[in-house]
Symmetry: C2
Subunit: 264 residues, 2 copies
């Protein structure tokens, strides 16, 4: 199968960099084709702006969505964006690998999402009607592909526990797993998170690699997080609130995954 690893760390000799190298080797040993988008090494343009549409006319009003849609539809996107979209189309699975900086991905990776997820590609897909609010949250361009986060965090695991001060890790990652990956159609696997990343000796590194290896070996047969599909009946449209009878009287991120739902 084809695996795209999008990697965001400035130092190749970091733990994050070492785990990237390990992951690439393991995936190739398992017979997969692997491409790596090493954003720092590529000197990825982080900031979304009017230069992303090569047909933008200076002096006109720049609209991030409308310009993105026009560029996507008319073939005037900048070449670096097109290349990443092609990699996404090629991939059967995508891994986003990054250190958790200020409780989310580094800016360089956020800029990858903003620029590569063009309007018409990553969002703004499909029809809006009384029963269908765009192809998103379970439907979209990237349907049928799998995605997984590989995260290194400085804090302790307990700091990200259900009652930990940083918030539960599932909540911290929800805007990425649900909002960035499930939104355009990916099946999202449980994340692989390494805590206290800066306190890693040789024995811990071996243990991390072993655990990561197990996850990568099962990349294509691990059950995804059972997020609820937007247009499959669980939500009122256009309010997009969960129907009152489902997870009644509950709220928050947790209600958007269905416990024990069989895979469709």
């Amino acid at each position: 199968m084809n695996v795209l690893l999008v990697y965001a760390h400035p130092e190749p000799r970091s733990l994050t960099g070492s785990l990237k190298n390990y992951a690439v080797r393991r995936l190739m040993q398992n017979g997969h084709m692997v491409q790596v988008s090493d954003l720092y090494a590529m000197r990825w343009k982080t900031t979304l702006d009017s230069d992303d549409n090569t047909a933008y006319r200076p002096g006109t009003r720049f609209d991030p969505s409308a310009d993105s849609m026009q560029a996507f539809q008319t073939g005037t996107q900048s070449a670096d964006i097109v290349a990443e979209q092609d990699k996404l189309r090629w991939a059967d699975a995508v891994i986003l690998q990054f250190p958790l900086w200020w409780f989310t991905m580094p800016a360089i990776l956020k800029g990858w999402v903003e620029r590569v997820y063009a309007c018409g590609f990553g969002y703004g897909v499909g029809e809006h009607s009384d029963t269908h609010w765009g192809d998103r949250y379970g439907e979209g361009t990237l349907t049928g592909k799998r995605a997984m986060l590989m995260v290194t965090a400085g804090g302790w695991e307990s700091h990200y526990a259900p009652r930990g001060i940083n918030g539960p890790i599932d909540d911290v990652l929800f805007p990425i797993q649900h909002g960035v990956l499930y939104y355009p159609g990916f099946d999202v696997l449980p994340p692989h998170v390494v805590y206290r990343a800066h306190k890693t000796d040789a024995a811990k590194f071996d243990r991390i690699c072993h655990e990561l290896g197990q996850r990568l070996d099962r990349l294509f047969d691990t059950a995804p997080i059972p997020f609820r599909r937007q247009n499959a009946g669980d939500y009122l449209i256009p309010e997009l609130t969960l129907r009152p009878e489902i997870a009644a009287d509950q709220s928050g991120y947790g209600i958007h995954a269905a416990p024990n739902r069989p895979e469709d």
Copy 2:
């Protein structure tokens, strides 16, 4: 008082840009001094890398935290970082204004946080002991200052309701309000959020300005969100989980604010 507005939108004629202009005028009419960091206009360097430490020696291993700490302590930070830190020291209140892109701030603003919040300034402050886990979450360099988010979102308010598909807006903004603003000591005010931002006619714009004006007029006497201080007894140290008897049997972001707690 002194107000710093950090603003992140690529188009001055956008709704976000118009609200920025309105806010600056209103704050000045109220007698405040105002500085604006217009990140796109400044062509802010978004990506954190070894160039941020002017004393970095090429070929050596770059450590984002250690290099940042060294540069901060020895005066070798790049000039753009120093200038923003000086603005933060000058400010009595800081407003972060941005469009909600993929459920968080734009990459250019995330890069501002990553680079300006140097180790020793935004984190890595204070001693670690059995009763005090660094000056953070209610203590730190920016203690005594207020902060507020001004956010424009494309989605509907119901999409960000407690049972909305995007997640509750308080949860969406928690990693910024708690993790980026409360962390180094800011008192964080409730956010000002505009929904369906791309559907704004003249009447709606007037209404938004009126509501925003009210919020800005009360910038210095609005009660902050009562987040719990890390080192004031509510958390076990070093686990940093909320003590079992507080908000017993509850979990998630919500437990980190104390309902009806009097302001200290």
